[in-house]
């Protein structure tokens, strides 16, 4: 099977490409800058931007399936920046899929597409909601997910996978930021740090996407639906951050900021930061809510419909992370 993997520059999508290639699938990677995967992985790559339809069309040619994981992430930038990559870019990939008769389309989404700011306790994958102010990343992913799921048809089966808080060796988003702040003595804990949050160890997130690809076909139970995937082992934010700091060998000395204060500061920062500064702001309202309220999910839909269960436990994940930092 020939599979297009977009965004293989991230630890997650690179991992997906590598796992598929190792089992014998024919892999094409599409991303802006050339990627390097482990030596034993055989793959071809097209370097290009999602906003460039021709590049997308070229990469898609001859593919049976697409795993679309390229996106603009973070909080820096305006709505136009997020929209052009995450919505229009996804539109390009869908267009290319139709043009080249691709039969299966796995969209890499995020639980934040259904995020309301309330705590989520054992919930399933609620429908993506749009219309939020600020939080351009979540809004653009939500618009794109609705668009993708709307394309489920007799010709092409689609599924959206929402991995929750992926972390592991090489992950710059969560692990990278926590370690950097802990080193600088700027680690902040929102509220008491007692909100229970589920996360996804990198290898499990990778296997979930592979499982989704394998389970997906026209008429399959998962076709046209969204799934939250996570380790199914929620822990308090405090324990998670402490675990990552220990694995990285950095001090765990957080300052506690009341949840309400954090949300307030986050709101202001979210609006003001992009105008005056570059790089990642210290906190946003979205992050404050994510870290201040419980977020854990019902694992049964993914288990039943995708035939997927995590294979690396949280504690094993911490051990592997520690080994990676030590190496």
């Amino acid at each position: 099977m020939r599979v297009l993997v977009t965004g293989a520059g991230s630890a997650l999508m690179g991992g997906v490409a590598a796992q598929l290639a190792r089992r014998g699938d024919d892999i094409v990677c599409l991303q802006r800058r050339a990627v390097t995967l482990p030596d034993d992985v055989r793959f071809s790559q097209v370097n290009g931007d999602l906003r460039d339809l021709d590049a997308v069309l070229a990469a898609t040619e001859g593919c049976d399936a697409i795993i679309h994981g390229a996106a603009r992430v973070g909080v820096v930038g305006g709505w136009a920046d997020f929209h052009s990559v995450n919505v229009e870019g996804t539109g390009h990939v869908l267009h290319a899929a139709h043009r080249h008769g691709v039969g299966r389309f796995v969209y890499v989404s995020t639980p934040s597409v259904a995020h309301t700011g309330e705590s989520l306790v054992g919930t399933g994958a609620e429908p993506a909601s749009t219309g939020r102010k600020g939080a351009f990343y979540a809004e653009s992913k939500a618009v794109a997910e609705q668009m993708v799921l709307g394309e489920n048809s007799e010709q092409m089966a689609v599924v959206a996978i929402r991995p929750h808080l992926v972390w592991g060796p090489g992950d710059t988003q969560l692990v990278g930021r926590i370690v950097e702040r802990a080193k600088a003595g700027r680690l902040v804990m929102v509220g008491s740090g007692s909100a229970l949050v589920d996360t996804t160890y990198l290898d499990n997130a990778v296997s979930a996407h592979v499982a989704a690809l394998d389970a997906l076909r026209v008429g399959a139970p998962c076709a046209g639906r969204a799934y939250v995937v996570a380790n199914g082992e929620p822990r308090t934010v405090h324990e998670l951050v402490e675990g990552i700091c220990r694995a990285a060998g950095v001090p765990f000395e957080p300052r506690h900021v009341p949840a309400r204060v954090a949300r307030g500061i986050g709101s202001v920062v979210e609006r003001v930061w992009p105008r005056f500064r570059e790089g990642e702001p210290p906190i946003t309202r979205f992050v404050a809510e994510q870290l201040g309220t419980a977020h854990w999910f019902d694992p049964r839909p993914a288990r039943d419909d995708l035939g997927w269960e995590p294979t690396v436990s949280l504690d094993e994940g911490f051990a592997r992370l520690a080994a990676w930092f030590a190496a």
Partner: protein, 766 residues
């Protein structure tokens, strides 16, 4: 099942078609059922005025009605009671129009009767159809249709229905909110008197709108399901049963010690005790206590308590014994729920019962007023008729550790069977002398033919029993047997010092009521070196179910849960699905399910709680036998030992299936630094996560201070997770006091703890 929920004509959202009297409303229901072409008899669920209408339909058109579920209603004003003053007030000229039509007072008042037990939305919903003066005209007419004198146009019709309801053949189930100031418990009793086969489920925490305050759907479902099978009458006449007072009568001429009360420093010989029983029996009978009458015994543990109880049993009165361990409020609620005809106790207890209105209308009998002379011929010469083994003997109360205290009914035959089971199980002989540090057990002493001793302790707090007090009680009678609750034994161990010579002579120590820590038993074993240590397992509804000795418990070793030993001979134990999925089908050895039992000494059932009864007493359709669902989950091992794993409602429903709390707690408590542990689930059923909360130092006394919960340190959390692997544990917290019951200081309220943990782990403020 098809559900039809009509509005009465001119009421709610229906058309305003002018005044409709009672007879017309009865006809409306009949017309509706016919117009809808319902092809089978219907169950009518009705409340308040609707109840009267439903009864009218049932007596006039029995062919249309399959059964009635009635809630807080009435068909006549109960004897000795005036009509509800609230309705009377509303119907009073002048007040009537203002309250019902000109203002929304009546409409809103209906919602207020239930106070906070209704949600805002429910209260608003009730008043919503009646926002305008015109729309309230119907309310005004409806109140005007309640007859308060015989000249009223509806009076004759309603009186005729009231006279005929006794002829109803369909099942009638009453769901009653007893906090209703309008249709209170008296109205329920009036209906039970008129319809003898009506079953009552009394909800002590609900009021006039019980159908809204609690969910009415389960009651209706249960009523319909129950009516499908007819409960068999397997109460074949039991004969040749030695009555509870048999031993007292046998020994009535002995002048040796029979009962000793260490607290009062009082004792009685067998002859004196039998005389006292006879004296009370005569006095009660003279004060018009009749066979079958319920009598609340508010006598504190003493020789008098035992004498009054045996006197009641002898004359066939039903003892309602609520122990003060329930607390004053719990005790009052218990007595009130049993609707006793008489109250007996010392002056202070009588005054309390009167002031707190525990038993309105009941005869108050002070102990002092019954100290007449013993009848000639003594106990043997009493001319009063004896009760039959099938007659009711007692109502006893559950501890209420897992909800409000429930009344449990026992017949004489069942009490006798229980007595005989205990005698056989513990090899009780003529030479045994028994100290009970728990009143309900002391009552069994004379029936078992044992010299009985009461220890000096605060009965409201079992943990106040000291080693010295227990030794003293034992030495007064030369005790061979001791019964004490686990909390009491723990305190005995803690306060043990100096020589305790009488304890050394004890041959048997029993402890029950809550799980007994093995360390407590071992320590008791050191105080009573010649005693066998036995822990019977059972509950207020069925006791004993199983039994295990300390050496057996040590030999069995660890396992999934707590081993309570093999079922007692004569008691069948079956493990069945707790989710009621496959009826009473027996599960294989090793498979967890609800512990379900059947034995001759099983209680008759719950008192005025037919819904609870229906759930807890399923019938095996193959044999017609009734079983008791204990509410405990556990399994039987290959050797036939019963293991308890928790309560049904405390099972944690994780995505990987159900997880029982006790096995996790047993393992957690083996971890260094953990004194007591609780495993609770948080989140929705089917997706729950397991959370462990531990006390790091044992606290046997409840201390009234703020209880705090903090996350466990990473070392303790890691140790517990390692011990409990492969079970995934979302969080490990510590607390200075787990929520436990007052009586035993041992039963953890995991439901409350789960809610606390869910809140703490949601990220909201501490």
């Amino acid at each position: 099942m098809r559900v039809i929920a009509p509005d009465q004509l001119t009421m709610g959202w229906s058309e305003r078609v002018g005044p409709r009297r009672y007879a017309a409303r009865v006809a409306d229901v009949v017309d509706l059922v016919r117009a809808l072409e319902v092809d089978r008899p219907v169950w009518i669920v009705a409340q308040d005025w609707g109840g009267a209408i439903a009864m009218g339909v049932a007596v006039d058109h029995p062919e249309l009605v399959a059964g009635l579920v009635l809630s807080n209603t009435g068909i006549a004003v109960p004897e000795g009671r005036r009509s509800p003053w609230l309705i009377r007030l509303a119907a009073t000229f002048g007040v009537h129009r203002v309250a019902t039509r000109d203002t929304a007072l009546f409409v809103r008042g209906t919602g207020w009767l239930s106070g906070r037990r209704l949600t805002r939305a429910q209260r608003k919903g009730l008043a919503l159809p009646y926002r305008t003066r015109a729309s309230r005209k119907a309310v005004s007419e409806f109140v005007a249709d309640v007859p308060f004198d015989d000249r009223h146009p509806s009076a004759a019709t309603i009186a005729s229905v009231a006279d005929r309801v006794s002829a109803l053949c369909v099942p009638v189930r009453l769901v009653w909110g007893s906090r209703d100031p309008v249709f209170n418990d008296d109205f329920a009793e009036d209906l039970r008197r008129r319809i003898p086969h009506a079953e009552l489920h009394r909800i002590g925490t609900a009021g006039h709108l019980a159908v809204l305050e609690t969910s009415v759907a389960p009651s209706v479902e249960a009523a319909i399901a129950e009516a499908r099978h007819v409960a068999p009458d397997d109460r074949s006449a039991e004969t040749g049963v030695r009555p509870m007072w048999f031993e007292v009568l046998q020994k009535a001429s002995l002048s040796t010690l029979a009962v000793s009360d260490a607290a009062a420093d009082e004792s009685a010989t067998h002859a004196e005790f039998a005389d006292r029983v006879a004296r009370y029996a005569t006095a009660l009978s003279e004060r018009s206590v009749k066979p079958g009458d319920r009598l609340a015994v508010l006598v504190p543990p003493s020789i008098d308590l035992l004498a009054v109880v045996y006197a009641c049993w002898r004359i066939g009165a039903v003892t309602v014994v609520a122990d003060r361990g329930l607390g004053l409020r719990g005790l009052g609620a218990a007595v009130r729920s049993a609707r006793v005809a008489h109250v007996v106790g010392p002056g202070r207890a009588i005054a309390a019962a009167r002031t707190l209105r525990w038993a309105p209308g009941a005869q108050m009998l002070s102990l002092a007023s019954m100290s007449g002379a013993a009848p000639a011929g003594g106990l043997a010469g009493l001319g009063l008729p004896e009760p039959h083994p099938c007659d009711p003997a007692a109502v006893v109360f559950t501890s209420g550790a897992t909800g409000p205290a429930k009344g449990v009914r026992y017949t004489h035959g069942q009490l006798c069977a229980q007595r005989d089971a205990l005698r056989a199980m513990y090899g009780i002989g003529a030479d045994d002398r028994f100290v009970a540090a728990f009143a309900p057990f002391a009552v069994f002493g004379p029936a078992l033919g044992m010299v009985t001793g009461l220890a000096d302790m605060d009965v409201t707090a079992p943990a106040t029993l000291t080693a010295k007090a227990l030794d003293d009680a034992c030495s007064r009678i030369g005790a061979t047997m001791v019964f004490a609750s686990p909390a009491a034994l723990a305190n005995v161990v803690r306060t043990a010092s100096g020589p305790l010579t009488a304890l050394a002579g004890v041959r048997l120590v029993m402890s029950a009521g809550a799980p007994v820590p093995i360390d407590t038993l071992r320590a008791v074993g050191r105080l009573c070196p010649s005693a066998a240590l036995r822990t019977p397992y059972g509950m207020t509804e069925v006791l004993p179910v199983a039994d295990i000795s300390l050496p057996d418990r040590e030999a069995v070793g660890g396992g999934r849960g707590v081993c309570v030993g093999r079922p007692v001979p004569g008691c069948e134990v079956r493990i069945v699905s707790a989710e009621h999925t496959d009826g009473l089908a027996q599960r294989a050895n090793g498979v967890t399910g609800e512990v379900t039992v059947r034995t001759p000494w099983m209680s008759d059932g719950y008192d005025r709680l037919w819904l609870t009864q229906e759930r807890a007493r399923p019938m095996d359709s193959a044999t017609g036998h009734t079983w008791h669902r204990t509410g405990d989950v556990g399994h039987l091992d290959e050797q036939g030992n019963l293991w308890i794993e928790g309560r049904v409602q405390h099972v944690i429903h994780t995505p990987n299936g159900p997880v029982t709390p006790v096995p996790l707690e047993v393992i957690a408590e083996s971890v260094h630094d953990v004194a007591r542990a609780a495993a609770v689930g948080i989140g929705p059923v089917g997706v729950q996560q397991v959370v462990i909360v531990v006390e790091t130092e044992r606290r046997d006394h409840q201390q009234s201070r703020r209880v705090s919960f903090v996350p466990a340190g990473s070392a303790l959390a890691a140790a517990l997770r390692a011990a409990l692997a492969p079970q995934s544990i979302a969080a490990v917290w510590t607390t200075d006091a787990l929520p436990v019951d007052i009586r035993h200081n041992a039963k953890i309220d995991r439901t409350a703890l789960g809610s606390t943990m869910e809140r703490l782990l949601s990220g909201s403020s501490r």
